[in-house]
């Protein structure tokens, strides 16, 4: 099974680039099936048979919607017939006009959303990494009430984002706790930098435990003897952290950061619920797509979604290309698998989320 998988799976990789991979994917199942047919050994056929349900599911949940979204993005909204007063029943084919509009007419809104998305991703993931790391160290160390500490730290992650959005809306209400603690009245849900701050605080609160959880798993596999040896050599706690903990936990941390990036890039529910729709300060790319779709313009909505998809895809690819080599060097095959799983998961996240 592994034999048939590896060559076809890796074959399109050297061609590189996003386009190469994308065209490579749809062909992959066909190629695999053809190869299996050619194989004289029954094992090849068996392998194909065993893999096919997975491929089928992937084709249905990943490939089909992606292609459909791409196709849909080439159609414009149905027009209003001024004579009858009715909307026409077909969507006109407009080619790349939806994309041209996004970068032309609606460019201001798009780039604003693009920068918001990028800004949120950068800031929240950086903060989450630091805080999540600290949480993991605490969860790892805490001896008394260990279960309680872990549960307490994980609670925010267990709260659905929509609910946490509503909770934080109460906190950031004009008469809410946040203003009470700060001792002055900031109108958090109005336009401005404070709206961004509110989103970031709520997002970090919610997802830092996720990084903490994954890093904790990484911490637990580090052997005690490594630390003992370091202590004998006279390394202080800080030195131990920099030279032992961090390098050894890096594969797990990178996977966690990658997941969080993917997640943050398609952020929608938190700004939508906490601050509100159509607020320039917090509008993200997903919100643009949703806005178009809710106004029954599925073509432009798809175009936004496709652009977001490409953006997420490129980030994921960059991540794996830039840091993937490190993963291989440090973590061996396990790390690499983690990286590749990252891609698949990111695609899935993009489509299903």
């Amino acid at each position: 099974m592994a034999d048939t998988r590896t060559p076809t799976g890796t074959a399109p990789r050297p061609s590189g680039g996003a386009a190469g991979r994308r065209t490579g994917r749809p062909l992959a199942p066909v190629g695999r099936r053809a190869e299996a047919a050619r194989a004289t050994a029954g094992s090849g056929r068996m392998a194909a048979l065993l893999v096919s349900p997975t491929l089928l599911v992937l084709a249905i949940v990943v490939l089909y919607p992606t292609i459909m979204a791409l196709t849909e993005s080439l159609y414009g909204p149905k027009g209003l017939d001024p004579r009858t007063g009715f909307i026409r029943s077909t969507e006109p084919f407009v080619g790349l006009k939806n994309y041209a509009d996004i970068f032309g007419e609606a460019g201001g809104r798009f780039w604003n959303a693009f920068w918001n998305t990028t800004f949120f991703t950068g800031v929240t993931v950086a903060l989450e990494t630091v805080i999540g790391m600290a949480m993991a160290l605490i969860m790892h160390r805490a001896l008394k009430g260990r279960a309680l500490v872990r549960a307490a730290i994980l609670v925010p992650w267990a709260v659905p984002t929509a609910i946490s959005g509503l909770l934080w809306r109460w906190i950031f209400n004009s008469n809410g706790i946040a203003n009470g603690l700060l001792g002055r009245q900031i109108l958090w849900t109005t336009e401005g930098f404070h709206a961004k701050v509110a989103v970031i605080v709520a997002e970090v609160w919610k997802t830092a435990p996720f990084i903490g959880l994954l890093v904790l798993a990484g911490l637990q596999v580090i052997g005690k003897e490594v630390y003992e040896a370091a202590r004998l050599d006279g390394a202080g706690p800080l030195r131990q952290f920099w030279h032992i903990t961090l390098p050894l936990v890096k594969p797990a941390l990178l996977v966690a950061v990658l997941f969080r990036c993917m997640d943050a890039l398609r952020m929608f529910d938190l700004p939508y619920l906490l601050i509100g729709a159509q607020k320039n300060s917090v509008e993200t790319l997903s919100m643009l797509a949703q806005d178009e779709a809710s106004n029954v313009r599925f073509g432009p909505a798809s175009a936004y979604a496709v652009l977001l998809f490409l953006y997420v895809f490129l980030i994921a690819l960059a991540f794996v290309r830039l840091l993937g080599t490190d993963l291989v060097g440090d973590g061996g095959a396990g790390g690499r698998r983690g990286g590749r799983r990252g891609i698949v998961l990111s695609r899935r996240a993009e489509v299903t989320a």
Binding site: E72, Q278, S294
Partner: protein, 431 residues
């Protein structure tokens, strides 16, 4: 000629962005396949009634009454989320997939044009409904291009809630009829020891549908209009500017508290109930809730004030429409007649305090005793101006919210905001 070629056109499928499954499907037919003649209403049997979540518990008894009378044409209740946008989304999805799952739809008054223009709902026989007994502005919300596409089931109008106790103490004879009076009264009350630190006026100014309502009310109350008699945008006028200036100026001079820019209905109700506000623009539902709060017995309602006299409210409420893709339309039509009858409207008024579309109920002494605000609400609804009736209502309301919000938080002058809004609305309406 009337051949409808319905192909399973591989047009669109699940495209998913951030928690929303957006399905878009179009069947290609002969161009314009419009219903030029009146739709026929045939078929009897079970149907469904689709509406937002019923939190009052008054809906099912009404349906039970129908089901008892028509055991072979039972109505099943389908409840959608409380959130209006989510309701609209699900109804659109049902229509785009041409599903017959939904029969009778409870539409927000502002959706009529969009649903009618997409032919998601059928044109209804006007003569079969007692429209002449209903309040005229309410009936207008159910029309598209002169045709009746829905039947009013409930209405809603904005009213001015005011602290009668404080006005009396300050020596003010009655509620203000104009904005100038409102500000004067407010200054007087603020001089009282009880009025110290109170804010004067608030409505709903968060960037959401409520802002569109409040903006339209301000413009209409100053004698302006958002769209003219032919439905064209006409918002860049001196009258409209005076309306928006009232709101923007009130924010600036502190008549409206700064935090009101974050208010939705509930926030403003809380502020009024906790005694922070002297005047509040809100819907009738606030009345019974405020009666149980600390301002109970201290407040009263009046029609909205305007620039030179009484103002004009926007209209809320729901209309019943018939899904084009439904089966058993004869039953559906009968059910709609039953559901929008005066008797049903009365039971909804009594049980759920939904404002009825029927003029007579507002004058019913027994009902007025139960709901003392009814005479005021009647005036409010009679003078009301429906929000713009636009096919692309979603775009129109976003444009209004964007510009009004910019004017209120001082980002733009009223004049500039209205000029921009006029341009945006023209674009939305394709003119």
């Amino acid at each position: 000629m009337k051949i409808r070629v319905i192909r399973a056109f591989p047009c669109s499928a699940a495209l998913v962005a951030a928690g929303l499954v957006l399905t878009a499907c179009g069947a290609s037919g002969d161009s314009g396949s419009g219903q030029s003649g009146p739709a026929s209403f045939e078929g009897r049997g079970p149907i469904t009634y689709v509406t937002g979540k019923d939190t009052t518990g008054t809906l099912q008894p009404v349906l039970d009454r129908w089901n008892k009378l028509h055991p072979k044409e039972k109505v099943t209740l389908i409840q959608l989320p409380t959130d209006a946008d989510a309701q609209r989304q699900q109804m659109i999805q049902n229509a785009e997939t041409k599903s017959d799952a939904y029969t009778v739809l409870s539409l927000d008054v502002v959706w009529t044009s969009e649903f009618a223009a997409h032919q998601w709902i059928d044109k209804l026989p006007e003569r079969q409904f007692p429209l002449h007994k209903m309040l005229k502005p309410v009936v207008e919300t159910a029309k598209y291009r002169g045709g009746l596409y829905a039947v009013p089931a409930s209405s809603d109008g904005g009213m001015l809630y005011y602290r009668a106790d404080l006005l009396k103490k300050a020596g003010v004879a009655g509620p203000p009829k104009t904005w100038a009076e409102l500000k004067e009264d407010c200054a007087k009350v603020r001089k009282l020891p009880e009025g110290k630190g109170m804010s004067c006026y608030a409505g709903q100014f968060q960037k959401y549908e409520g802002l569109t309502v409040n903006f339209a009310e301000a413009v209409n109350s100053a004698g302006g209009e958002v769209t003219d008699a032919d439905g064209r945008p006409d918002v860049d006028t001196p009258a409209a500017r005076k309306g928006l200036d009232f709101l923007a100026g009130s924010f600036k001079d502190g008549t409206i508290p700064k935090e009101a820019i974050t208010y939705q209905e509930e926030d403003s109700r809380q502020a009024f109930q906790s005694g922070k506000l002297l005047f509040l623009r809100n819907w009738p539902y606030v009345y019974s809730l405020a009666q149980k709060s600390k301002v109970a017995g201290k407040f009263a309602v009046a029609p909205l004030p305007g620039l030179n006299g009484p103002g004009a409210s926007s209209l809320g409420g729901h209309n019943l429409a018939l899904s084009s893709f439904a089966r058993n339309k004869a039953t559906a039509l009968d059910f709609m007649k039953f559901f929008t009858s005066e008797q049903t409207a009365k039971s909804f008024l009594q049980g759920a305090s939904l404002a009825p579309p029927y003029a007579r109920l507002y004058d019913d002494p027994a009902l007025v005793k139960q709901y003392p605000y009814l005479p005021v609400l009647k005036q409010s609804v009679l003078r009301a101006v429906p929000r713009p009736r636009v096919v692309q209502y979603g775009d129109a309301t976003s444009a209004i919210q964007r510009e009004a919000y910019a004017a209120l938080n001082g980002g733009k002058s009223s004049a500039q905001a209205l000029t921009d809004l006029q341009k945006d609305l023209k674009k939305v309406m394709g003119q």
